[in-house]
């Protein structure tokens, strides 16, 4: 078990080392990055929007439900909802959702290329296959995920506002006051740092699992599952580490 873990860690670092070499042709990589930006970013917007609006609504309603003390002003619900969404929900939960969507897609795409010898075809041509297939995905993930998370923050806060106002639990004026009160811009910076780390984890871990698929269709499915599971685990571990390092 321990030997296998060390083997996987070693192989992952070797794989990473192979990515950062000079591209065969910069323009081809650039086009790939543009393609991945659409695939990773635009492709995920629907699920991100839906999750964000409803999670924002639920966070607001639950915060209001728990803050029943008359000593606590109603606008505190806005503060709690805003900070929960910015600090934890958007960068972590949304990236966990993306780990499922993007991670499985990357692993199955590269895994299928492996079992159908498309990766061998790249290598025969003299192309650094790991770099060609993975680097554009990592770069695109790093570029687009912060925007996706910012959109999620915005939609989450809007969702909370709509839910509070529609249910009559948190009036609009209190909610808007709450989301503006004691706002720390650094929280956004912290959330974006986390997003960048998580984006790197999702794209690199998923590509690694896809690239080292061995066998057939069954193994492609297994790689896809592994990609999601390991990406999620590492996101949670690094969430704790980054919070400890930056906020504690």
């Amino acid at each position: 078990m321990l030997t296998k873990t060390w083997f996987e860690i070693g192989r992952y670092w070797k794989f990473m080392k192979g990515l950062f070499v000079k591209p065969e042709k910069f323009i081809v990589y650039y086009r790939q990055v543009m393609h991945e930006l659409v695939s990773i970013g635009v492709g995920a917007l629907g699920i991100v929007a839906l999750t964000s609006v409803f999670m924002g609504a639920v966070i607001t309603l639950q915060s209001a439900y728990n803050l029943v003390n008359p000593m606590v002003p109603l606008y505190a619900v806005g503060i709690v909802a805003r900070d929960s969404i910015i600090l934890e929900f958007s960068p972590t939960i949304i990236m966990l959702v993306l780990a499922g969507k993007i991670g499985s897609s990357i692993a199955s795409e590269i895994g299928t290329m492996r079992v159908t010898e498309q990766i061998d075809a790249l290598e025969i041509m003299g192309i650094n296959s790991s770099g060609y297939l993975t680097l554009p995905k990592i770069v695109a993930g790093l570029l687009i995920c912060p925007f996706v998370v910012i959109i999620s923050m915005f939609l989450g806060i809007i969702g909370g506002w709509i839910a509070g106002d529609m249910s009559g639990i948190v009036p609009s004026a209190d909610y808007i006051r709450g989301i503006q009160d004691q706002f720390l811009p650094f929280n956004i910076v912290f959330a974006l740092i986390k997003t960048l780390v998580f984006a790197y984890i999702i794209t690199s871990v998923s590509a690694y699992h896809g690239f080292h698929t061995d066998g057939g269709a069954l193994e492609v499915g297994q790689s896809s599952t592994k990609a999601v599971v390991y990406s999620s685990i590492f996101i949670l571990i690094f969430d704790y580490i980054l919070t400890q390092l930056i906020l504690a």
């Binding site: 290329m113 010898e117 061998d120 075809a121 025969i124 041509m125 003299g126």
Partner: protein
Amino acid sequence: MIKVDHIYKTFGEKTVLDDVSCTFETGKVNLIIGQSGMGKTVLMKCTVGLFEVDKGAVYFDGRNFSEMNFKERKPIRQEIGMVFQGGALFDSLTVEQNVMFPLNMFTHMSQEEKLDRVNFCLQRVNLVNSNKLFPSEISGGMKKRVAIARAISMNPKYLFCDEPNSGLDPKTSIVIDNLIMEITQEFGTTTVVNTHDMNSLTEMGEKIVFIYKGKNYWEGTFEELEMSDNPELIDFVYASKIMKSMRKH
């Protein structure tokens, strides 16, 4: 000429290639034949560097390919075209983009020049009006032809075909075999074909290497094969009723 010099390859405890030496001659179709699981594909993959050999060396026109690192191998790799068993076409690219792919990566040709070259290669494999189709929209035989077109797009010196007829009907197989022969003669490539199809053997076997239990059991021309009394080779080549009846005659 490609020279395979005393190569060994093991996977775990299993020795797949055991001291294999052979030569693949320039301007000829060199066939690697043998039963499934005897090491044909491993020999081909070791030759092109997809598997690293444990011992021994592979020489491409005197250049020791096995000793080179990834960067040093690049110029030789660009002289290699390979047709994989399943075609290995890129699913997300059209036929045209597949054939154009190596040109995009390694040449500075203009878009027009690249299109001309792609159309020439596709015409050469008798594929017209298929440029905009995706691999999922074409038949198995067409996929093989696109794979051949992609393999020859960079004017390769060495052409490798891994079971080019697998999954094809006998008529289409003959078309593919003839195409490989014509390309070999036309471009003077060193062509290596991995097969266990006896039709291919009779159609295009100029130089034959018979792999049995990971060893080069027999090597020679088609005429020499017909005269051979090597029991394993005879057992393999004349396994089918058709081939047995051919031998009687």
